[in-house]
Symmetry: C2
DNA sequence: TGTATATGTAATCGTTCGCTTACTTTTTTG
DNA sequence: CAAAAAAGTAAGCGAACGATTACATATACA
């Protein structure tokens, strides 16, 4: 499944945990975090620390694959201010 | 590529950034973080916030896929203390 | 070669993480 | 139904995040 944001990870984590018949308490101990942290992660906490998230995925037997997404990389909102800031007057645009 | 820890993400981010010929400064602006944060991320900062990491991957045209890792989920270090704590004396082991 | 440009490091600072504890609400199960 | 287990919520606190600023080192390139 493609992951775009924290909420999607949260959903996936919860479903996997339930599939494994683990309680939040059980999982939290395996991962080494508080139960509250698991609650928040499953709710899609975007400020959760990367390392703890990865440990959680490992504990659940989930794996992450990273790859170049085919197609145009995030169109990248043209920001005139930025363009001007960039390298003053070297003929951008 | 399989991602197991923060360092692996860091390496992948850096390689991708260079492939796109972006400076750390450019990337940091696109993502909306400080340049220092990019430096640390590329070094494998495990405490980086999940949301910022995902935004960075998007900005670089990278996508994450999550899936059940075939085989035995993380063997799960047998922790006697935990087993005992679990449900006292309901015949674990 | 020297000079911009990119990258690495350090220190300070306000904000927020994640932990603990305690309590409530929901779900399970005997 | 009653009791237990699981899950949600709140408050307080120390620790660490990420931003900013400043300077040092590397790399590019004219």
């Amino acid at each position: 499944m493609l992951i775009r944001n924290a909420k999607e990870i949260g959903v996936f984590v919860r479903e996997r945990r339930l599939k494994l018949k683990l309680s939040q308490a059980e999982l939290s101990q395996r991962v080494g975090v508080s139960r509250l942290w698991i609650v928040l992660l499953e709710k899609g906490k975007p400020t959760a620390q990367l390392g703890l998230v990865l440990r959680t995925l490992n504990a659940l037997g989930l794996s992450l694959k990273i790859s170049e997404s085919t197609g145009s990389l995030q169109p990248g909102k043209i920001d005139l201010d930025k363009l001007l800031r960039q390298r003053t007057g070297k003929g951008v645009l």
